[in-house]
Amino acid sequence: MILVVLEHDGQRLRKGALEAISRARQIGALGAIAGVVIGENTQAVAQEAAQYLPTVYAAEVGSYTPEKWAEAAYAAAQKSGAKVVVASGGRQSRTWTARLAYKMKAGLLEDTLETSADGQHIIGVRYSFLNRVTEKQKAALPVVFTAKPNTTPLAEPAGSSGVVEALEVSLPPTVEVLERLSEQKKGVSLTEATVVVTGGRGLGSPEAFAGVEELASALGAAVGATRAVVDAGWRPYGEQVGQTGKTVQPNVYIALAVSGAVQHQAGMNKSKYIVAVNKDAEAPIFKIADYGVVGDVHQVLPALIDAAKKLKD
C-alpha cells in the first residue's frame, strides 16, 4: 500500500498533491494507493481528492505543526498498512516527513526528481552538494519520499469517486503558534516564473533596484535577490534565491551585478538559460552563463529595459 499526503490550501488540493499522486501511480506495482488530507476543512478537500484515489483519509488536526502532521500521516500509514509514503517537497514537508520516516524506521528519500520501484525497494534520483551532484539512492521498504515540486506531470482524476474516511489522530505535544507573518507578495511568484531577473550587491544601492523591477515588469518576470542584498536590507527575504532562499528553474535567469557564489548558484543553476551582467570578468557567474556581458550594469540595465520594452511592442 502507498500513502500520498495531499497538500492543500484549506479549500482545494495544491499542485504538489497532484504531482505526488502521479509519483505514487508510477510505482503502483507496489500496491493500492490511499490519500490523506491533514489540517483544516479536510472533509471537503478529501472529497476533491476522492476524484483521484479510491480511499482518502481526512485528519482534522488544526493548523500546521510538524508534530501534528507527522502524527496524522503516521496514523494514516498504519491504518492503511502503507509501506511507502509520498508527499510533495517544500520546507515544511521536508521537516515533518523526516519525523515520519523516523517513526516508521523508514528510508527517507528527500526532494527527489524521479522515483521508481525495484522489487521491494524505491530508487530515487536527487541533487546533492548544493545542487551540483545528481545522485541515485536506493532504500528498502518502508520508504518515505518527497517529490521535488514542478518535476512531475499533474495527475488526472481517476474517473470514479473514492471513499472518504475520517481519521482520528491523538494530538502529540507540539509548538504553540503565537504569530504568523505572511510574505508580502507582489508581482510574479519566483518559483513559478518563467523569467527571473535578479539583482546583486554590485547594483550599489536599494534605489538601483527600481531598474530591476522595471526590467522584470517589461519581461513579465519575477524579481530575485542575492543573499548579500537581503542581508543589506535592500530587498525582502522572500525574493532571495539560493541555498537558504528559494530554488528556481525558469526558462531564463538574468543575473545583474551578481557574483555567483556557489550558495547562490545552488538556487538557480538548473535554469534553462542563464544571463549575467557584471563588471568583473572573473565573477564565478560567468562560468555558468549562456550569455554574458562584462560591463557596467548601470549602463547596460537602462538599455536592457529599453530593448525589452521595444520587444513588448
Binding site: D280, E282, K287
Partner: protein, 395 residues
C-alpha cells in the same frame, strides 16, 4: 604508505625531521587563510587605490588574536613562535602584502622591546599594545641613510631625566598610527654603531610629528611615514638596554623580523600562482585553454618550484629561531630568495594574463608592485648578500 593515521604517527615520531604542522598550527593556518579570503582580499584593491590604511582591519585582527601575537602571554599576548608567525604571514600576505605589513611592522616594533626591554618596560609598553587594537613601529632609516645604518644622524642628548631627540626618520611603517615607536638615535655620531641608543617614543609625545608619505608604488595600504623629532623629550625609562646597545638591538631585531617578510613573499607568490592557474584554465587561444600550452605550464611549474622551496627554507629559518640557534644567515637567505622568486612569479603572472594582466581590474599587477618593496625594506637584498657572505667567510 602507512595505512592508518596511527601508523603514520608512529613513523613520523621516529624521524629526525618532521614536516607536519601540529593540529594547533593547522587551525591557526585555517583561521589566517579564512581571514585573508573573507576580510583582506575583498578590500585590498580599494585600499591600494586610495593609499589608505584600513584601520578597521587592524581592529578585526586584534579581535581574532592575530595582532601583536608575539607578545608573551605574561604580558597579555599569545607568545606565538616564529613558525606560527610565518604560517600567519603567508596567509595574510596572500590576501594583500600591504595590509599584512601592518601587523608585520608592528611585530618589528615589538621585537626590540622583547629582546632588550626590562620586565618593567615590557609590562608598560606591551600593555598598551594588547589591551586594545594598537600598533608598534621601528624607526631606523633616515633620509640620508638606509643600508648604512650606523651612519644615522638622529641625535639623542641626555638632559636630566630625559633624552632630547632631534632628527628625521623616513620609510617608517605604522609610524603615524603607532602607540610606541622604537627610535634609533646616536648620542655620539663619531662612535658610529657604538654610539647608538634605542628609545621607545610614545604616541603624543610633544616634539614628535609623523607625516604620511604618499605616492608609493605598492603596499599602499600600509602607512609609511616620515617622523620628525624636534626637541622631543623622551624619558630615560624608555631607553632599551644601555647606551651603545642600540645598533646590536636593531640588527638582532632585523635578523628575526626578516623571516616574516620571506613568508609574505611566499604568500604573494602563491597568490600569483593561484590567479595564473585559474586564468590559464579558462582563457582560450588557438582553440584550447592556454594551460595546455607548454610555455604556460613551464611558467606555472617555475612558480611552484620557487614558492615551495622558499616556504620550506623559511620554515627552516623560523625553526632556527624557535630552537634558539644562530639564524642571521638563514633569515637573510630566506628574505632575499623569497622576495626574488616572488617578484619573478608576479612578473610571470602578469605575462600569463596578457593584456588583462596589465590592468588594475585584475589582481596580478598589484602583486608585482607590492613585492618589489620586499626586496628593499628590512635590509635590501644586497645587504642580505653581505650577511650571507660574511657567514661563509667567517669560518
Amino acid at each position: 604508505m602507512p595505512k592508518t593515521v596511527a601508523a603514520l604517527g608512529l613513523l613520523l615520531s621516529a624521524m629526525p625531521i618532521d614536516f607536519t604542522l601540529t593540529d594547533e598550527q593547522k587551525e591557526l593556518q585555517k583561521l589566517a587563510r579564512r581571514f585573508a579570503k573573507e576580510q583582506i582580499a575583498p578590500v585590498a584593491a580599494e585600499y591600494d587605490r586610495k593609499e589608505e590604511v584600513p584601520w578597521g582591519l587592524a581592529e578585526k585582527l586584534h579581535e581574532v588574536g592575530l595582532l601583536n601575537a608575539i607578545i608573551p602571554e605574561a604580558y597579555g599576548g599569545l607568545g606565538l613562535g616564529m613558525l606560527e608567525e610565518v604560517i600567519i604571514g603567508e596567509e595574510l600576505a596572500w590576501g594583500c602584502m600591504g595590509i599584512y605589513t601592518i601587523p608585520m611592522a608592528s611585530d618589528l616594533g615589538i621585537t626590540p622591546i622583547l629582546l632588550a626591554g626590562t620586565h618593567e618596560q615590557k609590562q608598560r609598553f606591551f600593555k598598551k599594545l594588547t589591551e586594545k587594537p594598537a600598533l608598534a613601529a621601528f624607526a631606523l632609516s633616515e633620509p640620508g641613510n638606509g643600508s648604512d645604518a650606523a651612519a644615522l644622524r638622529t641625535r639623542a642628548v641626555r638632559d636630566g631625566d630625559h633624552y632630547v631627540l632631534n632628527g628625521t626618520k623616513t620609510w617608517i611603517s605604522n609610524g603615524g598610527e603607532a602607540e610606541t615607536v622604537v627610535v634609533f638615535a646616536t648620542i655620539a655620531p663619531e662612535l658610529r654603531h657604538k654610539g647608538v641608543v634605542a628609545l621607545v617614543v610614545e604616541k603624543g609625545t610633544p616634539g614628535f610629528k609623523a607625516n604620511k608619505l604618499h605616492g608609493k608604488m605598492g603596499q599602499r595600504a600600509s602607512g609609511t611615514y616620515e617622523l620628525v623629532f624636534e626637541d622631543c623629550r623622551v624619558p630615560v625609562e624608555n631607553l632599551l638596554g644601555q647606551e651603545g646597545d642600540g645598533f646590536k638591538i636593531a640588527m638582532n631585531t632585523l635578523d628575526k623580523t626578516r623571516i616574516p617578510v620571506a613568508a609574505g613573499s611566499v604568500g604573494i607568490a602563491r597568490r600569483a600562482l593561484d590567479e595564473s592557474a585559474k586564468y590559464a584554465k579558462e582563457r582560450e587561444a588557438f582553440g584550447k585553454p592556454i594551460a595546455e600550452f607548454q610555455a604556460i605550464q613551464f611558467k606555472l611549474a617555475e612558480m611552484l618550484m620557487g614558492l615551495e622551496t622558499a616556504r620550506t627554507y623559511t620554515y627552516y629559518a623560523a625553526w632556527l629561531v624557535d630552537t634558539h640557534q644562530p639564524h642571521a644567515h638563514a633569515a637573510a637567505i630566506a628574505k632575499a630568495y623569497a622576495s626574488e622568486m616572488a617578484f619573478e612569479a608576479a612578473n610571470q603572472a602578469i605575462q600569463i594574463h596578457g593584456g588583462y594582466g596589465y590592468m588594475h581590474e585584475y589582481p596580478v599587477e598589484k602583486l608585482l608592485r607590492d613585492v618589489k618593496l620586499n626586496q628593499i625594506y628590512e635590509g635590501t637584498n644586497e645587504i642580505q648578500r653581505l650577511i650571507i657572505a660574511r657567514h661563509i667567510l667567517k669560518g
